[in-house]
């Protein structure tokens, strides 16, 4: 299980990455992240929405009301150009961090 601080730091990356595929509403974002990380990252309403609103106020996400195929109104989030631009360096930073941690773990084993 991943620790709470790392989770908080990676939450932005998780949301931006999942929305890079397609626009989604809040519940779909939470479930997809949970599924794709096999439960390692799990958002609840209280952890998800403050983060979504923060990313929206930074201009990285844009939200619009739309309808699900069942006709329910939901607020859909999608990545803006600014968010897409932010995602690439963020991914790079996290990859570097995980590679560095991997090297550290290997050195420790050796």
């Amino acid at each position: 299980m991943i620790g709470a601080n790392i989770k908080r730091g990676s939450a932005e990356l998780a949301i931006l990455s999942i929305l890079a595929e397609r626009p989604l509403h809040g519940y779909e974002i939470a479930r997809r992240i949970e599924r794709q990380t096999r439960g390692a990252l799990r958002f609840t309403l209280a952890s998800l929405y403050p983060l979504l609103y923060r990313l929206e106020s930074r201009g990285w996400l844009r939200a619009t009301w739309g309808e699900t195929p069942a006709g329910r109104a939901r607020r859909y989030y999608r990545l803006t150009a600014a968010g897409r631009k932010k995602l690439a360096p963020l991914r790079k930073e996290w990859n570097e961090l995980f590679r560095a941690l991997g090297r550290l773990a290997e050195a420790h084993h050796a």
């Binding site: 989604l24 519940y27 609840t44 309403l45 923060r54 106020s57 844009r62 195929p69 600014a82």
Partner: protein
């Protein structure tokens, strides 16, 4: 199933959110909670357990309203964002509109003049007239400049209001200039100045503003008519 909209609204009652914000956020949170409940069978939960889980998520954070308020207000446009989203596109289309007008004038284009009469009052009983100055080819260029400004601003991640401001930026500058000039002209020249100023405002603010806005409008429409397919949810 409980009325999640009312539950969420009650949860946000004591926050600093405005009534409109509270209503929109309540609707959104209610949607999340409804989906959580409808998804319950797939997660091996019965109705009662699903409702309990949803209620627990809603009440998990005692200060949810405050956190949502801070998240919404936390990051107002900083200087760098403001430059990218408003000043840069706005000033560029201001320069482009001035350059295109200059080029038309150098090419020998003459404006179309429309006479406008202003009736006198008891202080100045005589009527005065002024001219609306209309450069038709220039007005034809402005929608493209308005569209460019709005597109640029949108690409930088701005809100609709900022997109509109960036798209009609040249006339906002003209308007600001007229607002500064107006009190002095009224004070010194009275009605004749009012006539000329009104004609100038129509010529350089109202008509060009409409032309710029024509270019901005398609960008506003396309972002409001979004419909997404959510069939991929499994």
């Amino acid at each position: 199933m409980p009325d999640w909209n009312s539950e969420a609204s009650r949860k946000l009652t004591h926050s600093k959110l405005s009534a409109d914000e509270r209503e929109e956020i309540s609707r959104e949170l209610a949607g999340y909670l409804e989906d959580l409940c409808s998804d319950a069978p797939a997660r091996g939960l019965d109705d009662f357990a699903a409702t309990q889980t949803a209620a627990a998520e809603l009440h998990e954070d005692k200060h949810l309203g405050a956190h949502l308020y801070r998240a919404r207000k936390e990051n107002p446009m900083n200087l760098n964002d403001r430059v990218k989203r408003l000043w840069l596109p706005g000033l560029t289309i201001l320069l482009a509109s001035a350059a295109s007008l200059t080029i038309f004038q150098i090419a020998g284009l003459r404006p179309y003049f429309q006479t406008v009469w202003f009736r006198g009052d008891s202080m100045t009983p005589h009527s005065v007239y002024s001219y609306l100055t209309i450069y038709v080819p220039w007005l034809c260029v402005l929608p493209f400049l308005g569209a460019a400004g709005a597109y640029w601003s949108r690409r930088a991640g701005s809100s609709r209001a900022i997109q509109v401001a960036a798209g009609v930026f040249p006339v906002l500058v003209f308007l600001a200039i007229f607002l500064v000039i107006c009190p002095f002209s009224f004070a010194f020249d009275g009605l004749p100045a009012a006539g000329s100023l009104a004609a100038a405002v129509v010529s350089w603010v109202v008509i060009p503003g409409g032309a710029l806005l024509l270019g901005v409008l398609p960008f506003l429409r396309s972002s409001s008519a979004t419909r997404y397919n959510t069939a991929a949810r499994s």
